[in-house]
């Protein structure tokens, strides 16, 4: 890689981080439930992306980097002790709000955090990120059928956790 190419790649990376890191951080917060962990996840993701930057499609690196983010989040879960997951500190809102809507969002976020990581990622990408089933499958490196299955099971699990009664089996297939 020549010096000029390297300088251009560095500039492109700087521009990407400036433009998209907050979007990635929001997704990371949804995946990890915690700002501190989300920043760690984002930093790790960007280091991985930086290593391969010259091989990433420069037209739109975002889908690739997001894929690194969600797959890394899934791996992190495997590396963390169970009690750490269930005792994550509450999200640190800059302006605490005690309204019912905020409290309900916290409940949903709590419930989401208990799902297996890939199942959680499917729901975050499908609904919070508003991706199609195909785009979700692409981001997670699994089939559309798996996305459908995980969506169904994830919603069933959330239904139980949020107060309804039908049982759910938590399995991962991605």
């Amino acid at each position: 890689v020549g010096g000029r190419d390297r300088a251009a790649a560095e500039a492109a990376f700087e521009a990407f981080v400036a433009a998209r890191s907050t979007d990635l951080l929001r997704t990371a917060v949804l995946l990890t439930r915690d700002r501190g962990h989300a920043e760690d996840l984002l930093q790790t993701t960007l280091v991985k992306a930086y290593r391969k930057w010259h091989r990433i499609d420069s037209a739109d690196p975002y889908p690739y980097v997001r894929r690194i983010l969600v797959t890394t989040a899934a791996g992190w879960r495997r590396l963390r002790a169970t009690q750490e997951i269930v005792s994550l500190p509450a999200h640190d809102l800059s302006a605490p709000d005690s309204t019912d809507a905020v409290a309900e969002r916290e409940r949903v976020a709590d419930a989401l955090a208990t799902l297996p990581p890939r199942m959680r990622a499917v729901l975050v990408l499908r609904y919070s990120e508003d991706l199609s089933e195909a785009a979700t499958a692409e981001a997670l490196g699994c089939s559309i059928a798996t996305v459908k299955t995980q969506t169904t099971r994830g919603l069933a699990r959330l239904r139980v956790l949020l107060g309804a009664s039908s049982p759910a089996v938590v399995l991962e297939e991605c």
Partner: protein
């Protein structure tokens, strides 16, 4: 009340509003990313350099001996001249192998690829006086080229002065030579040794590909991650790696140990091998032990040396191919051991998937950088009571570490039942000096003095 899918989906979409409330990402993220990347790269290079030193030790002796033996006056067969290696690197002498072995144009292309890493190598990360090998293109030969499950791989050998060196290149399946990239730092090789590479389609892959390049007729096996049964018995199995014409390719599914235990056999004798691992088979968080905090139900973490926990947990989990979630490594006891020597100990336990219990002890002298630490593994204990409900007592470094579910005192007894020492228990954990080799049993008493449990003392250095 049944919540409809539509309502659940709406609530999930509302989470976006929650995430939108967060402050923006740090402004200096690009800079910190680059700094972290470079720091990780330096650490990886340092690890590779350690392998390089080992290779030099192997290579140094044959080169010196060949110098003494050179010349027909000693009545030996003339060694190859300068245009060929002074030693006889057998892999170097063989024709290319692999599915691309007959594609001369492709082989010529990969042989011409640069051995200089794309990223400059920090000279401080290499041992003094060591340079990365960079053989002249004319001396390079392709030992292996072909498609394997992880992608396309080529092993190129060359002579760096009198020393044999090698470099691995990888690309996607079907890649042209100019799409192949240097996969690891070039390294010196040694006569008679096999070369191996661990690769993966991507860092996120759960399947690794192992490639062994050896001589025709060589056989190879690898150790499977040990399995610990509910009885506490350990199965340490080896499986053969399919070899064809000296080339072995095997897919290895998770879990895998960080260090792959290979055994390559040539004519009934073990031969060494030099192993490399590509970046895409080793995501950054695999290069160093991941920071896995132990469970600390007894609130003892302040009595521990944090890096000791991280290092030893990583070692244990890697050895058995377990995740932290599976094994739930737990800090059971920690504290000073000896009265005079200032040694501390930490006792950890974990649970195997079979329910058997494993554990280890680490002892060290805080603040003494010159003092060595030691990690000692407990024999796996049969499944049964949960980890925290067991009495585990270990004598190590002239001290006693005790984990017990209840009681306020742990007494160490000899065979006659005489009390050798007594250690107070706090929240189920205790530590103290015990320098008597006759200690065999620990007895736990509650506040009323009643014996509530008894267990053997595991002792190291018997």
């Amino acid at each position: 009340v049944t919540i409809s899918d539509l309502e659940l989906e709406t609530r999930l979409r509302d989470l976006r509003a929650r995430a939108d409330d967060i402050p923006p990402a740090p402004a200096d993220l690009a800079r910190t990313t680059r700094e972290r990347y470079r720091a990780e790269r330096r650490r990886r290079i340092a690890l590779s350099a350690a392998g390089l030193v080992a290779a030099l030790v192997f290579v140094g002796l044959p080169v010196a001996v060949s110098g003494l033996a050179d010349g027909p006056a000693r009545g030996e067969t003339a060694r190859p001249s300068r245009s060929a290696p002074a030693v006889s690197p057998e892999l170097y002498d063989l024709a290319p192998r692999g599915s691309l072995a007959d594609d001369q144009e492709w082989l010529d292309g990969v042989r011409a690829l640069s051995w200089v890493p794309a990223e400059p190598v920090d000279p401080n990360a290499l041992p003094p006086g060591v340079l990365l090998p960079d053989p002249a293109a004319a001396s390079r030969r392709v030992a292996f080229a072909g498609d394997v499950p992880s992608g396309r791989i080529a092993l190129v050998l060359g002579m760096d002065g009198n020393s044999l060196a090698h470099a691995w290149f990888v690309g996607d399946r079907g890649a042209d030579p100019d799409e192949m990239v240097l996969a690891t730092l070039p390294s010196l090789s040694s006569t008679g040794q096999a070369l191996t590479l661990i690769d993966a389609p991507s860092p996120e892959s759960d399947v690794l590909t192992l490639v062994v390049v050896a001589l025709p007729g060589d056989t190879a096996t690898r150790a499977v991650v040990p399995v610990v049964f509910a009885s506490g018995e350990v199965s340490e199995e080896r499986v053969p790696i399919p070899m064809d014409d000296g080339i072995g390719v095997a897919e290895i599914e998770a879990p895998w140990p960080w260090i792959l235990d290979l055994w390559i056999d040539r004519a009934g004798a073990f031969i060494g091998s030099i192993g490399d691992r590509t970046d895409r088979a080793a995501p950054p968080d695999m290069h160093l032990w991941p920071e896995i905090p132990p469970a600390d139900p007894r609130g003892l973490v302040d009595r521990t040396q944090r890096d000791m926990a991280e290092m030893t947990i990583g070692t244990q989990l890697s050895r058995y191919g377990l995740t932290a979630e599976q094994a739930r490594p737990t800090l059971l006891a920690a504290g000073p051991l000896g009265t005079y020597v200032g040694t501390y100990g930490e006792l950890y336990g974990f649970t195997f998937p079979s329910g058997a219990i494993g554990g280890w002890v680490v002892s060290y002298t805080p603040g003494r950088v010159d003092a060595s630490s030691q990690q000692l593994d407990l024999r796996p204990m049969p499944a049964g009571a949960p980890l925290l409900d067991r009495v585990i007592a270990v004598q190590v470094s002239a001290g006693l570490l005790v984990s017990a579910p209840g009681g306020v005192t742990a007494e160490a007894l000899d065979r006659s039942g005489a009390v050798l020492t007594s250690v107070p228990l706090e929240r189920g954990a205790g530590s103290g000096p015990l320098n008597d080799p006759g200690a065999v049993t620990v007895r736990i008493r509650d506040a009323a003095g009643t014996v509530v449990a008894e267990a053997p003392i595991e002792r190291f250095g018997r």
